[in-house]
Symmetry: C2
Subunit: 229 residues, 2 copies
């Protein structure tokens, strides 16, 4: 079997596992968000701020993907939500079976929102469906304003692009409007959010988006369950 | 063939192509540096500063790896050195055959130093030998001080770790000594450099390291050519 054939088979097996996960998350009414970015764009830090803002109102849980170390799950557990770490060894992305196996260990059920923080990587996680409701691409202003066009795969598939660390804008060359235009080209219907977990700016808008997506998912499920359907 | 078998075969084919490249670079006396980091750590910006500092004394050339866009090679050509862009399509790393094919197109010969800027990724490029003399891992202070232990593969294989964007240190939480300790654990003989391409700080030390490595390579080649060998 060639590399391409093996990749196709793996992706198709992954899609089957992801479909089962999506069904399960649908039954349980859990909104699932797959966060993807370079290392160090601030995924865990944004989640810490999200937990601080939302955990009194919603049941939150997290799965953290990393090549090595339990550090990120530890950080979120310290914020009082259940979190499990998947250590991939060498692999540069999570896949649906890793997520399923982690969920089977228990402790993450009955969440309103499950965050899946992927391995820090703008390329490999892009093709792997994890049964999520939507993908989010994060980009810190320190990474430069050419990145959406350099990594079009993730920015075209993400339902939301979150620009992080905007408190650093005075100290770096980063043209927000140029990035907004790139993201709009790649994902015309996507959300575009500016945040700083350090100052808290924009975190409310992100939390509002999550709450809206959760409500929309539950309303759609209620309609499907209504008599006559 | 399983995924693992395919990967092993690919790596072994890559190693053969890399060995031939290394022989060629040795014959031609070209020092070859493989730069690896996350997207947006400042590889191209460091190379621009390096070209500004060294191109009057040394013949420099670059191969730029990216998923999409010619942008990085354009930036270096504007600085007056020959540069070729390899667009990998979806692949998250360069490999030795891509580099060989690009060199065969001509225009990069007779360089004293050839920089190979890998695709922005801290994981995938790690295992692929490109025939380089050494790998360099870059990490910007905006990415956080936990990264060497989270991405041990590259930081243990790199002969030099370069901390970039140190002009941002007053604005971010980044413990330089903690990072130095992680890098020392992973690569006890490695170089550890602090740089800011924006202010120029530390760029001289990096250029000095390159000059030393080039001289050492040429002296070793002269000794091998000397009568009696």
């Amino acid at each position: 079997m060639s590399e391409i054939q093996v990749n196709r088979r793996l992706l198709s097996e992954n899609d089957q596992a992801a479909a089962l996960l999506r069904e399960k998350f649908g039954r349980e009414g859990t909104l699932v968000v797959n966060l993807i970015s370079s290392p160090g764009s601030g995924k865990t830090t944004l989640l810490e701020a999200t937990v601080a803002a939302m955990s009194r109102t919603y049941r939150l849980a997290a799965i953290e993907g990393d090549i090595a170390t339990e550090r990120d799950a530890d950080r979120l557990r310290r914020h009082g939500i259940p979190a499990r770490q998947i250590i991939t060894g060498g692999a540069c992305h999570l896949d649906a079976r890793l997520v399923r196996n982690e969920l089977q260990k228990g402790g993450l059920d009955e969440a309103d929102i499950l965050f899946i923080e992927n391995v820090g990587n703008l390329v490999c996680p892009t093709s792997y469906d994890l049964g999520e409701d939507f993908k989010v691409a994060l980009l810190s202003v320190a990474e430069g304003d050419d990145k959406p066009f350099k990594y079009p795969g993730i920015f075209s598939r993400a339902a939301a692009a979150i620009i992080t660390k905007i408190d650093l804008l005075p100290h770096v060359d980063f043209d927000v409007e140029a990035v907004r235009a790139q993201v709009n080209t790649l994902s015309p219907d996507g959300h575009f959010l500016l945040t700083s977990a350090r100052t808290g700016e924009g975190v409310d808008g992100w939390c509002r988006l999550l709450a809206e997506k959760l409500n929309a998912k539950r309303k759609a499920a209620d309609r499907a369950d209504a008599p006559g359907n």
